[in-house]
């Protein structure tokens, strides 16, 4: 081995050190080259990222299954511990929800009537793709996840991703059988939102903390802790009316929002194919495809959180409704977020 010095060793050892040193410098230079290349954000890098996601997705798909079992066990123990409080809370919530359900039904009927009076242009139906979380790229620097659905299932870059509770993020990279999701808490995430009660518009910007910041609020906007924040649908990137979070703190400098989902409990996510290519569409892609006919069998109202159990004859209405409808909106239905995004100006 290398420890035994010989005549060969004496000649080759300095040579080898020189080669190693050269290789080290070469590699350091190439890391900086990579940084520049990544900064330029070429299509190539995106392809490679997509391909690497695809490559590890079968492994992650298997590896995340035992983890899911552990999740179930820890959730079970957590549930046992909080059974009593949880039950009380749910009872109370159930009371409130029943009341809201009635309000929602009334509004559905009223909306249907009003729409038949006005010639209302219906926004496209949402086509939902469900997928399992197979990797969580946690860490101090990136807030993203990997899901087990890709372009094979119809996932495209820029589509909105949500859990039962509300918006989680958007697709940032779609491989063939797996895609990467940028969470709304990531520093690169910007979501056009509006405050549910005041209808003030803003941008929700992540900063890699648990609670993203509301930006570009107007000076006269009225925001207070506890206000719900919904997607506004501006720019066509996200469907309108998806719950995003609750305002948790308001200070002189910043308004922070707590997302509705709990990151460690995310297991299944849904990707919304809204039929709009949005602001994130690749410029080199051909004409945006209209929602295909096969998108029709699975229409879901835009207000995804609360869905009345018995839709009855209202099943054919696929237009988004506000999740928790505000009674003050009833006299002016045109103000609802259901109007097509392009028609609104701040």
């Amino acid at each position: 081995m290398a420890q035994h010095g010989g005549p060969q060793q004496r000649i080759f050892s300095p040579l080898r050190t020189a080669v190693q040193r050269f290789a080290f410098i070469l590699l350091i230079v190439s890391t900086f080259g990579l940084m520049l290349l990544g900064k330029a954000d070429t299509v190539l890098i995106e392809r490679i990222r997509g391909a690497s996601t695809d490559l590890v997705s079968p492994i992650m798909n298997l590896a995340s299954r035992p983890a899911a079992t552990i999740n179930d066990i820890s959730a079970y123990i957590e549930n046992l511990a909080n059974l009593y409080e949880e039950n009380l809370r749910l009872r109370e919530e159930n009371h409130q929800l029943l009341a809201w359900q009635q309000v929602a039904r009334n509004l559905e009927h009223e909306n249907a009537r009003l729409r038949s009076i006005h010639s209302f242009a219906e926004p496209p139906a949402i086509h939902i793709i469900s997928a399992r979380v197979i990797a969580d790229m946690g860490g101090a620097y990136a807030h993203s996840m990997m899901i087990s659905a890709g372009s094979r299932e119809g996932v495209k870059k820029g589509q909105a991703v949500f859990a039962d509770e509300g918006l989680v993020g958007r697709v940032i990279n779609a491989g063939y059988q797996a895609s990467r999701i940028l969470l709304i808490t990531d520093i690169n995430s910007r979501v056009p939102v509006l405050i549910e009660n005041s209808r003030d518009r803003a941008f929700l910007s992540g900063d890699n903390s648990d609670r993203p910041v509301l930006n570009f609020l107007t000076a006269d906007a009225s925001v207070s802790p506890g206000d719900r924040v919904l997607t506004s649908g501006h720019g066509g990137a996200f469907p309108p009316g998806i719950p995003v979070g609750v305002v948790s703190s308001v200070s002189e400098t910043s308004v922070r929002v707590t997302p509705l989902y709990r990151r460690h409990q995310l297991e299944y996510l849904r990707v919304a194919d809204y039929g709009l290519d949005g602001i994130l569409a690749d410029p080199d892609r051909a004409i945006p495809q209209p929602p295909a006919a096969d998108a029709a069998p699975n229409p879901v109202p835009g207000g995804l959180g609360v869905r009345p159990l018995d839709l009855g004859d209202l099943n054919n209405i696929v237009t988004p409704v506000p999740v928790v409808p505000d009674l003050s909106l009833v006299p002016e239905p045109a103000q609802a977020p259901a109007t097509p995004p392009s028609g609104q100006t701040p």
Binding site: I28, M35, R49, M60, A67, S144, I172, H264
Partner: protein, 156 residues
């Protein structure tokens, strides 16, 4: 190949979604630990090129700016490979201390470069938590890797 493969396995393990509130936002730098361990003990089996490639794969998978992890792992590999002889007859505590220092420097460099490339200062708190986790879990990973290394020696 075994050391590089073990680092890759640890990288995948760090990506597995875990249903614990803390761990989902902050993960220990498993690749950093294993690259450090192998470079100290078997620098001939985990070369600078391997460290570079592992860093690249990590950046591609986690969506971090390209090149940062490569740079950090490359520096850690070269530094520890050159200092490996120093640790040969020292106790594990010395190695642990050395790792704590290296990890601190490595995570700071990573934070600095990532912030610069993203164009905004990233929050500091997750970094601190991640560092503490990384330093605390090192003995465990080192133990596992020692097993791997012993198994490797039996076959050679």
């Amino acid at each position: 190949m075994v050391p590089a493969f073990s680092v890759f396995v640890l990288l995948l393990i760090s990506l597995v979604p875990v249903g614990l509130p803390m761990v989902s936002t902050v993960t220990p730098a498993l690749t950093l630990m294993s690259v450090f361990y192998w470079s100290i003990n078997r620098p001939d089996l985990l070369t600078a090129l391997a460290a570079f490639i592992i860093g690249l794969v990590q950046d591609l998978l986690t969506g971090l700016p390209l090149g940062v992890s490569s740079l950090v792992l490359l520096i850690v590999q070269t530094l520890s490979a050159n200092q490996g002889r120093f640790f040969q007859n020292k106790s594990f505590a010395v190695l642990w201390w050395a790792f704590a220092l290296v990890a601190l420097a490595a995570l700071l460099v990573q934070w600095l470069f990532t912030s610069a490339l993203i164009g905004a200062l990233l929050p500091f708190k997750p970094l601190v938590t991640s560092y503490i986790l990384t330093a605390a879990l090192f003995p465990l990973i080192a133990w596992v890797l020692t097993r791997v290394q012993n198994g490797l020696l039996q076959h050679v």
